[in-house]
Chain length 246, copies 2
DNA sequence: AAGTGGTCTAGACCACCTT
DNA sequence: AGGTGGTCTAGACCACTTT
């Protein structure tokens, strides 16, 4: 632990703890040894060890409970990643959309596999096997989103056979628990468009009503694209809310 | 500085330094006294003072140069705050919008002062004195945004008399340098709408074309709202791009 | 050589939770 | 009461920049 002089001690300790978490030595939800024990084990001072834990806590990998101990964080991606990224009513109130799943299916080849757009986003070959989920999301019992979700079948074996009623509202938790796919970053492209005939039908609006189109690609911890999602959103009485912090 | 036992010392020091920056005692780009002097002034230990500086550095308020000193950050807000928040072409290339300023004016009272919406966003009284800037922003020489910017006159004394051609493209730099107003956070509401007659004229499109409407409110270091901005954006061949990191 | 920030230590005391 | 994390101190030494 004192070998390299180039990298600071607290950095080395931090990385060691991180790999021990990644290797499963300390599972999410379990408590680490107390600070004095860890300091003894790593042969560093209390302060140095604390600096490592402080940084990991700041990065949400660890959660500390005063008087109790330090635990490995259980990542709640839906809340952590999309916390500053919400649907709100005009009055500013946050909303919690519910889902109505319409169809789930899988396929490969030119007609049923990944389109060029999907292949590009997911970094797979056009025509590769994918699973598609169609759903409508409702806010205050009113249909607001029309969603088209595509994931590579290879990463989600068996997803296509899950009954529609068993697919939960918060997909990313589900992905983590059932398929060990943890969403860690995402990007989104937002533009305005006219409602299609299907949007009109699903969202109970006139065709050509202006709606938002959001194209989202999600990545896992290693940076592999794992989900492509196109959302058509009706912004009548609602809006997309984003917070930025410097 | 030792009065309250409830809030940690480093927190008090941090907030004190923050207000001294906000009050202009240490302008952006200037160096603070060295750590030992500051520790002496605040009657705290080196470590406690460092913790305050560490947090401010992490929040990009200060920038440290080993061997030289600690300086107040020159925030390039357009790059720092809106770094993951850009206009992109369909091919994914980033763009750098330019501006055509149309009108700048100030006023107060029922007709020319803050509207209810502006007053609400800026936390001022309806009818309070404001300065308004109208501009069109161009990407690749094509008008894409129609912008309506409103700021409280009190914070921007003399802004209304600045010649249009002297108002730069990157407003937040300008605000910091000329008015000591540093944008530190923002929120944005995004929705879809039909282009108005004015949008059609300014953006060379048909009325009722679907466009994005973005309502942005910016806040300074202390959390005071300092700018309200409504942008109408044509998303033909371009989109709004957002990155999220867990 | 002098001055600045960066790392690290050893030890003290406080606040909170559990038993 | 005992154990945990949270705060704070005083001092040492290192790395970098300037004079």
């Amino acid at each position: 632990m004192r070998a390299l002089k180039s990298t600071p001690l607290y950095q080395q300790v931090k990385e060691s703890i991180l790999s021990r978490i990644a290797d499963g030595e300390w599972a999410p939800g379990t408590f680490l040894p107390c600070e004095t024990d860890l300091a003894k084990e790593y042969q560093v001072s209390h302060g140095t060890l604390r600096r490592a834990l402080d940084e990991l806590t700041r990065e949400h990998r660890l959660t500390r409970y005063q008087g109790k101990g330090t635990a490995v964080s259980i990542l709640d991606s839906d809340q952590a990643l999309f916390k500053f990224f919400q649907i709100r009513r005009e009055d500013g109130a946050s909303t919690l959309p519910t889902s109505k799943n319409i169809r789930i299916c899988s396929g490969s080849g030119v007609h049923k596999g990944a389109t060029h757009e999907e292949a590009d986003a997911l970094n797979i070959e056009p025509g590769a096997a994918v699973v598609r989920l169609r759903r409508v999301r409702l806010v205050d019992h009113r249909p607001l989103f029309n969603e088209y979700i595509t994931v590579p079948q290879q990463l989600f074996q068996g997803l296509e056979n899950v009954p529609l009623e068993s697919i939960p509202n918060t997909l990313y938790d589900f992905f983590q628990q059932k398929f060990n796919v943890t969403i860690s970053s995402a990007h989104e492209r937002i533009s305005a468009m006219s409602a299609s005939v299907e949007d009109a039908k699903r969202l109970s609006i006139e065709p050509h009503t202006p709606i938002l189109r959001m194209d989202r690609t999600c990545f896992d911890i290693k940076g592999t694209p794992v989900e492509h999602r196109v959302t058509h959103m009706l912004t009548d009485g609602y809006h997309y809310y984003i917070e930025l912090h410097g």
